[in-house]
Subunit: 292 residues, 2 copies
């Protein structure tokens, strides 16, 4: 249909693409693992051709790591505080390719430095669609968990925790790996791990305790992965001193949503489930309209 386009959430390891109608209705979708780590910069024109063969020969708007120095073309970060208008203004138009790449957001001021690429579309989309208030705290777990704060509708803070990556590294390699091949589930062992990790200054000591507890029969080997996951997620969530009595907009689904919700509630916050696909759709469609 006239005015249709393709929206892509192009991340580090995964890619999701949708055909979107001019009125913002999301249609046919495609999900695969052709993330930026699987591609070189030269691969993108052919990748777009493949996507267009599936979803229609349409213009493209893409968010995420596709705009990083590991992706197709680097799009400079927009500085926080940032809103959708700033993202739209920072977009990179590639007219020959019929594509538009969105920037990420950087936190440059103050003591800390942090960056995001992709999460900002979900967060600002959630605000625009009224799914979350203009002053909110978002938590978006994954390989890297992002804590994103908004103030008066702008992204004002971000902290990225390597939580998921560290768990994967410990599970795949090293001294704990043989003990971490069990399932991870919310339960007594996970909650005990959260209690150990929350607020801990000695995270690396807490991680070695997984081994010591198993060796000394204080933790069942089958529960070791849940305990270790609890330690890491507990440290991640418990590091925030601003959770008490605060709603946390949890952009996650499945097991990770369950685990983070449990940890957030344990640390005094209130986890509110938010549909990250719906939030992305709301954000990217507004950006599409703003960049016409």
């Amino acid at each position: 249909m006239a005015g249709d386009y393709i929206a892509i959430d192009w991340g580090t390891t995964n890619r999701r693409a949708w055909r979107v109608a001019a009125d913002g209705t999301f249609g046919e979708a495609l999900r695969d693992s052709r993330g930026v780590l699987a591609l070189t910069a030269d691969d993108y024109p052919a990748e777009l051709a493949t996507l267009r063969a599936r979803l229609g020969d349409l213009p493209v708007i893409a968010a995420g790591m596709v705009g990083s120095n590991r992706g197709w073309r680097e799009v400079p970060y927009v500085d926080a505080p940032a809103d959708l208008t700033a993202l739209a203004a920072g977009a990179l138009h590639l007219p020959d390719a019929g594509a538009l790449l969105l920037p990420g957001v950087a936190l440059r001021g103050g003591e800390r430095a942090d960056v995001m690429r992709g999460e900002e579309v979900q967060v600002l989309g959630a605000l625009a669609a009224g799914l979350a208030p203009a002053d909110a705290l978002f938590c978006q777990p994954g390989t890297h968990n992002k804590w994103i704060a908004t103030t008066a509708g702008q992204i004002t803070d971000v902290a990225t925790a390597l939580t998921g990556e560290l768990f994967a590294l410990l599970r795949g390699h090293g001294i704990l790996s043989a003990m971490l091949d069990g399932p991870v589930a919310d339960g007594a062992a996970f909650r005990a791990g959260v209690a150990r990790g929350a607020g801990a200054r000695d995270l690396t000591v807490a991680l070695f305790e997984v081994r010591a507890r198993v060796l000394l029969d204080r933790l069942d080997a089958v529960d070791a992965a849940s305990f270790a996951s609890g330690v890491l997620i507990g440290a991640d969530v418990g590091a925030r001193s601003d959770l008490k009595g605060r709603p946390v907009q949890l952009l996650a689904s499945g097991d990770l949503a369950t685990l983070y919700a449990a940890a957030i509630d344990s640390c005094g916050g209130t986890a509110l489930a938010l549909d990250n696909e719906r939030a992305f759709a709301a954000g990217i469609h507004r950006l599409w309209e703003m960049t016409r």
Copy 2:
């Protein structure tokens, strides 16, 4: 000579063996990477035969992971508080092999659980030889850093931090790996990392900042490994609330000794260099005499 024996410090990845005279004088030595991870339980008789062919057909006393469930024969842990007498009493005699395996030490009481195998010989040896006072705090960095406290000549506390292992995992795999291939040295970047990591509850956020700082030109890529090492060692050292004005007996040599000494001094302690080979020699010879 009559009364000579072979002393072995048999660790996870490395092995050191010495011919020792009856009076405790350490002679010819052998160092290799035939640690327990390179061996199965059935390999040990042949390994001892090889060592004896080099160092003499003598009785053997061995400490370390050789007595773990990943080693030759499991020797149950001795509980803290523990001294040399307790270690000697817990040794496993293998008369057919002409060998004696020493136990490790476990911390079972209280909230935390921790274990060690091998470090206890150095710590108690240092006390026995008068290299450190009877009430002391030891720091023994490596793949796993051990903090060991002694009270009135007994090991009363231990905390193991996965510091070195985490750095190796991050350097070998994952999002930071490409940034961490530079050298690690004490300097401004390392000290900035120590300051960021010391006392931090958000270690996994601090680690992601390595990437963000490089991307945002706040850290030279060549300094990223030193900064990351500083964050991890700073978190390890800074997690201890008991360092202010306190001497720390540092059982390390080379670069790791330099880095930990810098971090200990930054966190208000006073690092004292201790020769870990001399400490091991003093401890194992006393254990040898006590188990005759």
